[in-house]
Amino acid sequence: MNQLFQEAIIISILASTIRIMTPLLFSAMGELITQRAGIWNMGVEGTMLTGAFAAYIAATATGSLWLAVVAAIIAGALMGAIIAFMTATLRVDHFIAGLGLNLLAGGLTLYWFQSYIQGRAQPTFSGFQDIAIPLLSDIPIIGPVLFSQRALTYVALLVVPAVWFLLYRTRYGLELRCLGENPKALDVKGLSVTARQFAAVMLGSALTGLGGGFLMLGFSDRFLADFTAGRGWIVVVALIAGNWKPKGVLLAVTTFAFLESLATHLQVVGAQVPHQLLLALPYLASIVLLMGVRFRSGQPARLGIPYKRG
């Protein structure tokens, strides 16, 4: 293998790592906000799926990718409202509410999708293209890896410091973390825990829905059943592995994206492995990653426990 080819492969692996990271990063940052507010939202998979579906419908119906992005965000927020109603208002067990949401999302999206395409060929759209930033994208290796990506990828990378700033440097963030650690303190001050959890879950789920939307707009041109294929669960794994901290979650998400990128490139370089093994790699990695994670110091103290007054 000549050197030029090797370099091209390495650049390609790294560039696609950044691309694969993008949807996971949006969704993981959304779930980070949600979980820091004390709601263990197990409905990430369903929220991402709904975001992807809304983006697909909007993109094919209106032809506008940016309207599709908005649709994904709204769909995510609506799913968040359902989760918040179930967990914060009705105090249904968080795990059950999340599982219920996933099953509902799986059924509803598939039904609407089949109704939408009934009797015609599935409409497709052309998704986001890479934007090469002038000058920066000409830098060897770093240029094509970092500065020749889709517009939303740059946004996703900015979301990480933004969420960090929101959580640790604003009054709202302090209150939000308090929801997960000690909601009673807010209640005693006369602030509504339920209303705040609603706001946090809807904000977080809007980001999670955007992640699903970008998965659709950046990687595909059509919808499929189980489109998200477990990525919502990988997001939950990334939160645990990242110890509920923005930097840690970023690291965990990068690891997954790198593995997935590596797996898809194994075939490009002609490795003789069944493609199912490559597809299974991220799930295998999740299990191994969680087996190694022992520290849980960052887990919010009241995560997943319905708040009851008194």
Binding site: I96, P274, S286, R294
Partner: protein, 355 residues
Amino acid sequence: MIRFEPRTERDGLWTAAAFAMAIAAGLAVSALLLASTGANVGQVFSALVQGAVGSPKAIATTLVKATPIILTGLATVIAFRAQLWSIGQEGQVFAGAMGGYLGAQLLAGLPAVAFFPGVLVFGMAAGVAFGWLAAVLKNRFGVNEIISTVMLNYLIVYLLSWMLQGGPWGESGGTISYQQSPMLPSDAFLPALFGSSRLHAGVLLPFIAAAICSLVLSRTPLGYEIRGLGYNPEALRHKGVNIGRTVTIILMASGALASLAGAVELFGVAHRLRADNLVGLGYAGIIVGMIGGLRPLGTVMAGLFFGGLASGAVYMRVLGDVPAALVPAIQGITLFFFLCAGVLARYRVVKVAVQ
């Protein structure tokens, strides 16, 4: 403002009313969903009922469709009652069919009395193995069972895909891969209950399994431990119960029930190993178990209801062009209203003045 106050005593009538409202609300929202896509709601519902209970053949189909869902529902009951949120049922169904298929190859030629119990045990062993794996991950490594079982589900599905496509079990011949195994020999089909009907002997299994689950839950030390894990694991620990061991047994038993569903589908309905008739059985079982109030009898009833929906949907598809995904959509909607009804049954809604 409204507030929820726990009811001090259980009101049977109110509970029943809450769940009746849940069914009504579920059907009403499903009707809205149908109307939203321009279908004739009345026609679709009458086709559903016709196809579910309209003829002896329809009832037979309902029973056949309910069989695997009740089994995965019982698998859910055993795990969820102990607050072990396993959602491995989906993958364990696949594992059960694979184990059964392997068994059919190894035990071929045995007389039916030994063959069928044998292959069902092979199928169940596969689910038991995956239940054990999830238990080890939880006990030894502290991996949340929801996440480990979801990941295992995907791993099992890809394993089956490889076995059928690149691996040893695929149907050979031709250039196109169908992702299915060759047909089983006809003496490996579960025998029909009446003459040549499609009602195979496997439809009896969920009822037997439900009776056993009910007995185990209410009358045995294991049942006590399962309920105890759900209510108060600390108290159980103080009583000297080995929690890790109990978790392992529960997840293995749950796996056995879910994989039995896969094996019964293979030998009773599909007669060859393929993925598309197994997809969703595990998730449907989770819904059925939860709607059934995590009780064996309730699960049987919810399973029959969903079996009727699935059977009715077959009839509906023949009649009109309503999408096949109507059934999972109605399942999901119904589940949500049942979760809300569960809250209504336990709490009293109180209006409070805003200060």
